[in-house]
Symmetry: C2
Subunit: 249 residues, 2 copies
């Protein structure tokens, strides 16, 4: 796998291939340019070296749909790097759950080591944004109490299709579609805790490393999916993350 700058030209997408890993060194274009498609595919734009920090109940309307109050401070949980997959990778439903749901989320990708940053300074540590699906086993989420298994299983964290460094996270649309039908349709202006606050809050507990990811919470409209479905997450102005859902034979 290699890294590349993604360049849109009309309805075509080109990849300007980079040498090395741009998270840890300056972007070094190799001069090679490939059109996306025809045997070329995108992988997850980042596999965190350390962690995916996710935020629960960060849209009031979503908290309400499960009968929960809005938290007074961000409710943090972790997803392991082994849960990350990329565009078009299958979401594999585990044997131990019969209720798996999608959650469209704006994901923040950290660019620089940070600890104890203020909300005012937080955005300097953000590399960019991508789409995330915080896939959740609803039955295990309820019975387990802690969400390590229900939201941490392999393939439960699709990320992609790329990292966009130009998104303004203050007010973008966060949409999910199941088999083409719109299910969630929120906007980040309705986040209970906004991106600068979240980066600061997380950094007051945990050192954030380059490539760590913060999932900012999901808007109302969540539902279940099943084998054979295709689920999409779209962040306005960023792109679409699409994944098929399968069950192991």
């Amino acid at each position: 796998p290699r890294f590349a700058l993604v360049q849109q030209e009309g309805d075509k997408t080109f990849l300007a291939v980079l040498g090395g890993d741009p998270l840890y060194m300056p972007a070094m274009p190799t001069g090679e340019r490939i059109e996306l498609g025809d045997g070329v595919r995108l992988l997850a734009p980042v596999i965190p070296r350390s962690k995916v920090v996710a935020v629960g109940r960060n849209y009031a309307a979503h908290a309400a749909e499960f009968g929960n109050d809005v938290p007074t401070s961000p409710m943090l949980f972790l997803k392991p790097n082994t849960s990350v997959v990329g565009p078009d990778d299958p979401i594999v439903l585990p044997d131990w759950t019969i209720e798996v749901g999608y959650e469209a989320e704006l994901a923040v990708v950290i660019g620089k080591v940070c600890k104890d940053v203020s909300p005012q300074n937080a955005m300097a540590y953000v590399l960019g944004y991508t789409c995330a699906n915080d896939v959740s086993a609803r039955d295990a989420q309820k019975t387990d109490g802690q969400w390590g298994r229900a939201k941490g299983f392999d393939t439960s964290c699709p990320l992609g299709p790329w990292i966009d460094t130009d998104v303004n996270p203050e007010d973008v649309g966060v949409v999910s579609r199941l088999n083409g039908e719109t299910k969630q349709d929120g906007r980040t202006r309705d986040l209970v805790f906004d991106v600068p606050f979240l980066v600061s809050f997380v950094s007051e507990a945990m050192t954030l490393l380059p490539g760590d990811v913060i999932l900012t919470g999901t808007p109302a409209g969540v539902g279940l999916m099943d084998a054979g479905d295709r689920v999409e997450v779209e962040i306005e102005g960023l792109g679409v993350l699409s994944n098929p859902v399968v069950r192991r034979a």
Copy 2:
């Protein structure tokens, strides 16, 4: 930092220095041998590439001391690799908590990639064991609901002093001491879910990577600690993990 085999001779401890990282290649002794002490210290024996998976309420007497039932299946949560520190490293109390507790635990260190292993086969994937302190901000644990912050902050996962490959995890003592006074004194025979079951159960959700760690839960007797204290975790036949507690100025 370098890896070494730890060799006890009487009351002296020697380090037989290895080349490379023995998690990823055969142990390669360099011939160099150093006595522990005199400017030589141990670091955390492993920093997981991926995750620390921890198990809540896995001793009935500990579940009862907080008024909780014993779970019907293991309650998993995650601690990030940024929370790991080693022997004698300070546990740094965060500004946002005034109630931080210790939890002595037997830690399982995974040696080989595994996914969907049975309890019968699980032990083949275990490299060895170490002592862990599942440091917990009790106030944030209650108010946050999910434990990502309360049990995931920097320095909340002391591990050490070394990885012991010869421990039989079926019935060893798990002790904590605060300033020399014994606080917890349990035995792993009282684990609700034993080590082979836990490795299997976790692997049915998440791929375990070499260096990943499973904290098996804490026995009854937990309590709080404060700046100036020294907390110790001892696993019978393995060793003692000792850490000072500090608050940032």
